[in-house]
Amino acid sequence: MKKFTAMLIAALMLVTLFACGGDATDDNPPAGNVKTEKGFCFVSGETEIYPNDEAAAVIEALGEPKSYFEDPACAFDGVDKVYTYGGFQLRTYTIGETDYVFRVDIIDDTVATPEGLEIGADPAKITELYGEVENDGVLYKYTKGDSTFSVVVKDGAVASISYVAVLPEA
C-alpha cells in the first residue's frame, strides 16, 4: 500500500511538473492582420499600396513584375517574396496562408512618393514635405498607423525611401 502511495505521489509530481511548465510564449499565431489606422501609402499608377495590406490584390493590380525572388527562411518553411517593378521593389510576408505587404522600397529616381519625394532629392525636401521629425541627418523616420516611412540621406542627397510595415504582434 505504501509502495502504491509512493508511486502515486511520484506520478502526481510528474503531472504537476508538466502542468506548471507553461509555454514559453503564446503559441497561437495571429489569425490575421487587423488594422487599426491606415499607415503610409505608396502609389504606383492607380494602385495604392499600404504596408500590412493583403498582397494578392496589390500584386494583381501591379501586373507582371520585372523580376521575382523568393527568400526562404533558413530551416523553416516561410518564404518572403520580393517583386521588382519599374522604380520600386515590394516585399511580402506571410501569416497563415495569406501574404501581406511588408515593405516597399523606391530603388531609383524614375518614381517618386505621392508627395513628390524621390531618390537624389535635396534632404531639405524631406521635412518640407513630411514635417519635422527627430533625425541624425542620415535617417528620417516617420510613424503612422501600422507603418513607418523612412528616408536615408547619403552624400547630401536622398539615397533610399522605404515604406515598412509595423508587424502585428505574433
Binding site: 511520484a10 510528474l14 507553461g22 510564449t25 523568393e70 527568400d71 495569406t98 501574404d99
Partner: protein, 435 residues
C-alpha cells in the same frame, strides 16, 4: 524499527527512480527529433557522435553548413573537419560552441562566418532552439541560452526542454518513439547535402542602410572569440561565405577587413571575385588567388583590396576554380548546392593546406572512420543525383515536386510555419522582417 526505516528509504529511492525514469522518457519523447523535417535542428547534437579529433572546426550559420564539405576537405587535402553550424547561429551561440568544442578537442583552426555580425541582439526563439537544444548540458549551454533568450523565454526550459515541448503531446508521431534513444545522422560532419539546382535569376535590390556600424555586442563576442583562440593557440579564420543574398555590404566588409588587420587574423570574403558572366546575366565568382598568411597569422582578402593584396592581376589570372550560380546553388544564390560546396571547399582547402601545417593522419582507426564517412557521403551523393535524374527533384530528401512547389507558391501555402512542424509549437519571427 530499523527494518522499517530501510524499507521506507528503499521505497523513496524506488519512487525517485521511477519519477526520474518517467521524466527522462517523456522528455525524450516530447523533444522534436528533426529527422524527417527540419534536419537543421539535428546538426548541433551530431558533433557528440564524433570519436576522432578534427584539424578544422567551422562555426556559424547556414552559410557554413550548406557551403563547405568536410568530406571533400578530407579527400582532397587529408584535413579532418567538422561544421558546428546551425540556422541563424548568432555570435554568442558560435562563441559558446567554440568554447565547448575546446572541452573536447583542440583543433588547429576555427573558421567563423561573419554574417552573424549584423545581429546585435537576440532574434527568435525558434532559431535559439535549433542552436541550443542540441547542446549537451554544460556551462556553455546555459550561458548560450542566457545570451540568446528573447522576451518571455525561460532559462529552465533550456535545461529541461520538456517544459517547453510538453504541449506536443497531441502531435507525437511514430518518429518520436523511433528516435527516442538515438537518432540517425542527417549530415556529413555537419554538412547538409543538397544536390538540386535552382539557378540565380535575379537578386533583389539592396536597400541602403542608415547605419552600417556593427553593434557593440557583436564586437564583444568577436573579441571573445579572438581571445579564446589566442589563449588556446588555435588559429581563427574569419570568412564571408559566397552567398549572394542576403546582402553583405561593402561597409560591413571593410569593418571585418579592418578588424582582421588589427587583430592579426585572416579574413576571406569569398564574394570578392563576384562578377557577371559574358552573357550579361549569370553571376559567377572567379576565385582570386588568396594572400599567404604572414608570420603574424594575418591575411586579408576583402572586396576593397582585390589586386595588390591578393597577389596582383597576374596571379588573378590563375585558374583557381569558380562558382557558377546557374548551376552551383539550390535556392537562387542563398546557399550553394553540392557541386558549389565541393568547388568552394577545394579552393579553401588549398589555402588551408598551403598556410597551416596539418599533420598527416596515419592512425588506422581514424583512416577507417573517414573511409566510412566517404562511402556514406558518396552513397548519398549518388542517391541524390539518381533521384534528380528519375524524378526531377529530391523525393526522399523532403523536397517537393517542382509543380507542387510552384502551386503552393501561387496559392500562398508556403508558410507552413514551425507551428505545424515537428518542432512543435515554436513561432517564427523572421528577422528579415524587421526594420
Amino acid at each position: 524499527m530499523k527494518k522499517q526505516t530501510t524499507k521506507r528509504i528503499l521505497a523513496a529511492v524506488m519512487a525517485a527512480c521511477i519519477w526520474a525514469g518517467s521524466f527522462i522518457f517523456l522528455q525524450g519523447l516530447f523533444m522534436p527529433k528533426y529527422m524527417s523535417e527540419i534536419p537543421e535542428g539535428a546538426l548541433i547534437a551530431e558533433y557528440y557522435k564524433e570519436t576522432t579529433p578534427h584539424d578544422v572546426v567551422f562555426v556559424g550559420d547556414c552559410e557554413v553548413y550548406e557551403n563547405f564539405s568536410p568530406v571533400t576537405l578530407w579527400e582532397k587535402y587529408g584535413i579532418t573537419s567538422f561544421i558546428r553550424g546551425s540556422a541563424q547561429q548568432l555570435m554568442w551561440q558560435s562563441y559558446y560552441l567554440m568554447e565547448e568544442t575546446l572541452k573536447y578537442e583542440k583543433p588547429k583552426v576555427f573558421v567563423f562566418n561573419v554574417l552573424a555580425m549584423q545581429y546585435d541582439t537576440p532574434q527568435s526563439e525558434a532559431y535559439n532552439r535549433l542552436n541550443i537544444d542540441g547542446m549537451r548540458l554544460s556551462a556553455q549551454k546555459i550561458k548560450s541560452a542566457k545570451a540568446s533568450m528573447t522576451e518571455g523565454e525561460d532559462l529552465l526550459s533550456y535545461v529541461f526542454p520538456i517544459l517547453r515541448y510538453h504541449s506536443r503531446w497531441n502531435d507525437i508521431k511514430a518518429e518520436d518513439f523511433k528516435y527516442i534513444i538515438a537518432r540517425d545522422k542527417v549530415s556529413h560532419n555537419g554538412f547538409l547535402m543538397r544536390a538540386d539546382v535552382k539557378a540565380v535569376d535575379s537578386i533583389p535590390y539592396v536597400v541602403p542602410l542608415a547605419d552600417y556600424q556593427f553593434g557593440e555586442n557583436s564586437y564583444k563576442y568577436l573579441d571573445m572569440m579572438t581571445k579564446l583562440c589566442k589563449d588556446n593557440g588555435v588559429e581563427l579564420i574569419l570568412i564571408k561565405a559566397p552567398s549572394l543574398y542576403p546582402a553583405w555590404y561593402d561597409e560591413w566588409d571593410e569593418q571585418m577587413a579592418q578588424y582582421a588587420k588589427e587583430n592579426d587574423l585572416t579574413y576571406i570574403n569569398f564574394l570578392s571575385g563576384l562578377t557577371t558572366a559574358e552573357d550579361g546575366k549569370t553571376q559567377v565568382i572567379n576565385f582570386p588567388s588568396l594572400p599567404a598568411v604572414g608570420e603574424d597569422g594575418a591575411a586579408v582578402s576583402s572586396s576593397d583590396m582585390p589586386s595588390s593584396d591578393t597577389g596582383g592581376e597576374e596571379q588573378k589570372a590563375q585558374d583557381n576554380g569558380s562558382l557558377d550560380f546557374s548551376v552551383d546553388t539550390y535556392d537562387m544564390g542563398l546557399h550553394l548546392n553540392l557541386s558549389g560546396a565541393e568547388k568552394l571547399t577545394e579552393y579553401f582547402g588549398k589555402f588551408l593546406s598551403e598556410n597551416y601545417e596539418f599533420k598527416p593522419h596515419t592512425d588506422e582507426d581514424l583512416l577507417l572512420i573517414w573511409e566510412e564517412k566517404v562511402n556514406t557521403y558518396n552513397q548519398m551523393k549518388a542517391d541524390q543525383y539518381r533521384e534528380l535524374e528519375e524524378y526531377g527533384y529530391l523525393k526522399s530528401f523532403g523536397a517537393k515536386p517542382p509543380k507542387e512547389a510552384e502551386k503552393e507558391l501561387s496559392s500562398g501555402d508556403l508558410n507552413k510555419s514551425e507551428n505545424d512542424l515537428s518542432s512543435g509549437d515554436l513561432k517564427k519571427e523572421n528577422t528579415e522582417i524587421s526594420d
